[in-house]
Point group: C2
Chain length 351, copies 2
């Protein structure tokens, strides 16, 4: 057993396309960070679990639950993630899926660092909204605090026209660096497509693209922190959402993108719901995630027609009107249809 332990320490000796010490210089010790974007919906507000936030202080930015992957202790990446989350917040994760692995140079909080010590693996977890009880640490914060331009529930957010559009247009005017490749899209076009400028349709799934654009344009606080070339000065600059530590806001953006996309073709909303719910509560949860308001009667038709829910027989009163039937998720659909989901249809676009 100890043989195994000692043998495992070094890369497999034989053949060694894998062994780095051969024809390359010494490989730096790479750490792998596991990061959890844990999402819930509480009072029709989509929230993420963050650990160390202080909205008023500029030094102490929020951070997602995270920790290094240690293959000794963790059988899989996901189990490692669960352990860290349990450890740091007390939360026992349910549904979780891997998002993306990031390792870009200079996207961590250590200025002057040329090479990342860490590769970040982001995970998305969906859970029911639990109160602050059940948590040993951390707090739920609306994800729109980090991404105010994503909140279209009350129409187009003002921050786009007021703070984002003019500065992106200015950025688009500057000459694009020569790094642009053959088929790359011009800055102005990217801004227009990402943020739905000049009458272009808004695509609620492009959360990550939008954040990356703001970062590249130097408009996200993290860009200045990372010492990014061209970042606007810290002073006299309207804050575009709360920043986070390291690349955690990028991971959260990826999580929102994935959630918004997946909610439309897999029954993942139900991970966010209590066991019993009314169809309107379900709709409100979907709307909290996606933004635009849906047509109530058609939403009902779709959800019921897809066999995603079944009535419990009970009703919920005190809704302000006629009592609403309670439903529960029909887990059996997972065994019936190959790819069930909550399709979504929007009312007349209010761009």
């Amino acid at each position: 057993m100890n043989m195994e332990l000692s043998g495992r320490r070094k890369p497999t000796p034989e053949k060694s396309q894998l062994a780095p010490e051969d024809d390359h210089e010494l490989e730096p010790s790479l750490g792998i960070g596991l990061n959890a974007a844990i999402v819930a919906v509480s009072d029709n507000e989509p929230v993420a679990l963050v650990v160390r936030g202080d909205p008023d202080s500029i030094g102490a930015t929020d951070v997602l639950p995270f920790g290094p992957f240690n293959p000794r202790e963790h059988r899989t990446l996901e189990s490692g993630l669960r352990a860290w989350v349990q450890d740091q917040t007390g939360l026992d994760l349910g549904y979780a899926e891997q998002l993306y692995t990031f390792a870009d140079r200079g996207r961590h909080a250590t200025p002057g660092d040329v090479a990342p010590n860490y590769v970040s693996i982001g995970y998305l977890a969906l859970t029911q909204a639990v109160g602050h009880h059940g948590l040993t640490n951390g707090l739920w914060r609306s994800w729109y605090q980090y991404f105010p331009w994503e909140d279209w529930r009350r129409g187009r957010p003002e921050i786009i026209a007021r703070d984002i559009e003019p500065r992106l247009k200015a950025w688009a005017e500057k000459p694009t660096p020569t790094t642009s490749t053959q088929h790359s899209i011009a800055r102005g076009d990217r801004a227009r497509i990402c943020f739905g400028l000049d009458g272009t349709a808004w695509d609620e799934e492009k959360v990550l693209e939008r954040f990356e654009l703001l970062y590249e344009a130097g408009l996200a606080d993290e860009a200045a922190r990372d010492g990014r070339n061209g970042a606007e000065e810290w002073t006299d600059r309207p804050k575009l959402g709360l920043p986070m530590q390291a690349d955690h806001r990028r991971i959260l953006a990826t999580a929102i993108s994935r959630t918004r996309a997946k909610i439309k073709y897999r029954p993942v909303v139900f991970e966010l719901m209590p066991d019993e719910f009314t169809l309107y509560e379900l709709q409100k949860t979907v709307e909290a995630i996606l933004g635009p308001h849906l047509h109530k009667q058609n939403f009902r038709r779709l959800v019921e027609g897809a066999g995603l829910v079944e009535p419990t027989g009970e009703v919920k009163t005190r809704t302000g009107g006629r009592p609403a039937k309670l439903f529960r998720f029909r887990r059996e659909v997972l065994l019936e249809r190959p790819a069930p989901g909550v399709r979504v249809s929007a009312p007349p676009s209010r761009s």
Copy 2:
């Protein structure tokens, strides 16, 4: 308030540039492997670029182009991948996207190893079919050689009913290990849903799920190689596709899943096409990827209606009948619609 976290926070550069062994026991030197599933379509056959294959020898299994990520040399994960591919095959990658990061214990080729030294990041690359010229190394091999059960172009593959179904049924009979969690799906149901048994619809996107199921059931050669509990003996066993080194077949399965899914909602087919093509050639390429035959006239209507292509004005003769108009991809759609793609409609199912 966050003292309890300080021990687990990302190590600061001062203390850990090269010394991870602080508050945890010795952290093993983790390597990060970049792996490329490079896909093309050649003569209506979907192919992947593999490096060291010998279909007849059992010892020398195929391997995807890969190499370790070195943050000193590589600015990003993707640029590292491109460098390795260039190095190993001579191919200059075009379109590439990240797939998934794998690190499960025991899924590498070193038996007896309890913890992985390597974390594998898989990438999907799409490219035009280039002949063996332009390659310094490696060869294109049909992806259906690794996954024969995925080839539905000539109806349901016989291998499912003959070699897969009976053995999966037998596996489903065995008691499920206690590791099954609350909402986990029974073995029999998983087999039925994955492989479309007992009249269940076939979902061509579940390529990874199917391979993982075969692996878990011990029916993939890799399972025996990894010393997996319950794997069938090597002898007297029909081969279920060519195995690959390490977890490369799993990465290729992920690549096929992603390709099949993405081709339906993003214009990625055109990465596989020459500059000019007929609509039927486009259709044949889609069919090579997805399997079932499409309705020719409707496919044409969809593609043209979506503004994805424009006629070049030229025609292609010697098609065996009336000459076919040549088209080219309209790159401008990327600037117009937020999420263009080749939607696909299938003729009456021939399950």
